[in-house]
Amino acid sequence: MTMSSSHGRGAAAELYSDPRGWGATIWSWITTVDHKRIGIMYGCASLFFFLIGGLEALLIRIQLAVPNNDFISAETYNQLFTMHGTTMIFLVAMPMAVAFFNYIVPLQIGARDVAFPRLNALSFWVFLFGGLYLNSSFLFGAAPNTSWVGYANLTSAQYAPGANVDFWVLGLSIVGLSSLLGGINFITTIINLRAPGMSLMRMPLFTWMTFVTSWILVTAIPVIAVALIFLAFDRFYGANFFVPTAGGDPVLWQHLFWIFGHPEVYILILPSFGVISEVVPTFSRKPLFGYPIVVYAGVLIGFIGWGVWSHHMFTTGLGPIADSFFVASTMIIAIPTGVKIFNWLATMWGGSIRFATPMLFAIGLLAIFTVGGLSGIMHASAPVDLQQHDSYFVVAHFHYVIVGGAIVGLFAGFYYWFPKITGRFMSETLGQWHFWTFIIGFNLSFFPMHFVGLFGMPRRVFTYPEALNLGDWNMASTVGAFIFGLSSLIFLWNLARSAVKGAPAPANPWEAPTLEWSIASPPPHYNFAEIPEVRSRDPLWTVPVPLSQTRPAEEPLMPSPSVWPILTAAGISLTWILVMTGVWWVPIIGLAWTAICVYSWAFQPAFPAEAH
């Protein structure tokens, strides 16, 4: 904590701007290969998309506030709910977690950067371009409109002739590539760049969950890539993978999509489990209870997550034997999840619990996510699912899981690591406001949806008749959604304000045990002056003196900035976008651009020349 004095006010501003002016500062961000800057950019981009997705949600809720509403048209509604789902999953929850992977994992394992810094920059830019391209569809009035699962054959050229589905299939392909590259990078980083002494079973839980998530990314993304490429060939080049009248099978899409889609659920939730496994011990002043079990449970979830996909397809008509198999596998996956919950509770048991905002959100996750997990058990029971599938009950369920689990965990992460990232605390008062308005708004919005579903309202309907008697419930949800919206604005305001005016934070403000807290807040661009040696699972609790706080005599050699990642990303995105023309040779223009960029990249030295 002694180090904080040497970084006075504006440490972050100094670190992240270029003295030569605005232009130079922007250029330094565009060409950066620093995992911390890339992490910040991921975070900002995901928050930007969070605002867009939230706005879409509010428009949806206005439309559904009363029966037979005509606030927006059916077509607009279908675009909004499709983009809300697509945005929140691919452009918010995933990149928000990746923001933390980027910023925190190298610090937690005592590394100076990720294994492939330029590839990391490429991942970010590909993601950003893909996300912007997807959303640009609104400008043409042709946003995707066939839901985030895009079930065939509704997405075929016959039933979806507009550009809407083109934007979706190509945009997701671009974004997916980003995840794939990120996954490879983090697997390599975690395997190879751990500080001496940090065995796998000494890794912090957040790093462990990043590791598991990265494996799922690397294995699951190719599955949806295959599905999307099939669909692209169907739409642009006259193939018939999913066209029943030509011998294709639309149910094949469902299998491919969910073989990706269910592991995807764990891609969303495991990073948050990692955050919680850091926050709960720190704020209980106790090590994580049953560390190996929590690790194994996470790994097990990662594996079993591959064998449960057809529980999304109980109504498809796969027959009783397939249904029973997927009932059993889905039930099994509930066990490690439950075990994790009990381990967190046991960590708090006998501790000394401090109710700072990060801990509030961690507790919030335990309380809310459990509700979502349990409603999940209900529709894991296949016959019960026949009533609940595609109803608002399911909408309630997955918001409890994805918002109440993934997003709440990441909120905890923001409050927890913000002092490390900026050298300033987030406002505790605003944090409390954020937490309580969130809890009220979220539950008021989504809890009634359980009843709305049980009373027979299907999801993805732009309106509902008065006869269903569901107006009051829906109005409650709408009011809740606006309170939730307000809480998110408080959060964003807190982030922005605290980045500038927050109280200065020392190196280890929460007295946490892991390596990222041993260096200054914010960390210097080389992270660790000297790579620390690790002798235990919680080094800062067992070694009295923080390890790496002295300024080195000679700055460590860091990779040079490069403009090629962003230009390559532009080439890759362009290639996919040109597929929209439907002419087979046009995308080759984008490929040529990409090839030139990759070539230039390969021959650009990774480190500054004077170092040799």
């Binding site: 049953g290 059993a328 619990i353 109710f355 459990t370 595609d390 732009f462 006869a467």
Partner: protein, 357 residues
């Protein structure tokens, strides 16, 4: 067994009562999933739901209870002792893993039993109804009786029914919550052995007469939200009367407004898509309009079946149902040009359709 059933019913009404009390008394939820009117399918699902529901409540109570206890008991106190750095306890870990596994097994066993029970082959003498989903309406065909109708499924109370579900365009899902769960209508073209269109099947036996609401539960395009249906469950006698009625032609009095409407109908593009038993209208792209006058709604559960609503529908169907494949008087639709009917002709056609009782 009977006592258990009674207990479950009691619990069901208790759970059902909570939300009802919350929004005021006497509310009816015509699409409720927890109030089945079938003999086997619906109650089997409902019983299983209650079993799982109570297990999850037990788990929730334990987790929330422990959480609340921990938060109160172990909150940081100034000058409190430093916590013991416990790292785990093998016995506890094994305990809650095994505990979770036991609950999971206790849920899985009745689940798998119910899976097989609800997908058992229907009775040999079951009434077969072919259900075809189309954007955004339902076709019901009774092959044994040669009767075809749309959007209102008539079923005899007490007789097993075997629904053969398939789609004519994109995937839909047949969901009438009070009958039981939903099942998808897939656009599969044929069985692998080419023995005819491949269908999903749903076996139900309705035990209470009544009108039950349902709607499509798989997103199927612009007007997915307006793809409603009604099940009209009636006594065997009423059902046989209805079948007989559907097979006999009805014609309006000559010279009446309805008769003029019939003439207009038969010479317009109407007949390209619609069929009416006993006339030259034999189109099969749109809903069969035989005895459309007795239906309770038009536009697939969209509007009450009144002459005024029929006029509004024929005038501009796309305004009422976005994307519908039927032309209006001024706008084309579904590849057909605008019908160009005058207001007078419109009223006559509506009168004709209303007269088909």
């Amino acid at each position: 067994m009977k006592a258990r059933r009674r207990l479950l019913n009691l619990i069901k009404y208790f759970v059902l009562a909570l939300p009802v009390l919350a929004v005021g008394c006497g509310r009816e939820y015509p699409q409720s999933t927890i109030d089945p009117v079938t003999r086997d399918f619906g109650p089997a699902i409902q019983d299983l739901y209650m079993t799982v529901f109570w297990w999850t409540m037990v788990i929730l109570a334990v987790v929330w209870g422990v959480l609340a206890y921990v938060l109160i008991k172990y909150r940081a106190r100034p000058g409190g002792p430093a916590p013991q750095k416990t790292r785990g306890h093998l016995g506890l870990e094994i305990g809650w893993t095994v505990g979770a596994a036991i609950i999971v097994v206790l849920i899985t066993i009745p689940t798998v039993q119910t899976v097989f029970r609800t997908q058992a082959a229907p009775a040999e003498d079951a009434l077969v109804v072919e259900v075809v989903g189309r954007q955004w309406w339902w076709e019901f065909h009774y092959p044994a009786d040669g009767v075809t109708t749309a959007n209102e499924l008539h079923l005899p109370v007490g007789r097993p029914v075997d629904l053969h579900l398939r789609s004519g365009d994109v995937i839909h899902s047949f969901w009438v919550p009070r009958l039981g769960g939903k099942r998808d209508l897939n656009p599969w073209v044929r069985e692998p052995d080419a023995s005819g269109p491949r269908v999903n099947r749903l076996a139900v036996t309705v035990v209470e007469p009544g009108i039950y609401y349902g709607q499509c539960a798989e997103f199927c395009g612009p007007s997915h939200g307006l793809m409603g249906l009604r099940v009209i469950a009636e006594s065997e006698g009423d059902f046989q009367n209805w079948l007989r009625m559907m097979r006999t032609a009805v014609a309006p009095d000559s010279g009446s407004q309805a008769d003029a409407g019939r003439e207009i109908f038969m010479r317009s593009t109407c007949v390209a898509c619609h069929a009416i038993e006993g006339t030259n209208a034999r189109g099969n792209l749109g809903p069969n309009l035989t005895r459309v006058g007795v239906r309770t709604t038009i536009g697939a559960g969209l509007l009450e079946n009144t002459t005024e609503n029929l006029v509004a529908w024929i005038r501009d169907p796309a305004a009422l149902k976005p994307g519908v494949k039927m032309p209006g008087i001024a706008n084309g639709g579904g590849g057909f040009p605008a019908t160009g009917l005058s207001e007078e002709e419109l009223a006559a056609v509506a009168a004709y359709l209303s007269s088909l009782k």
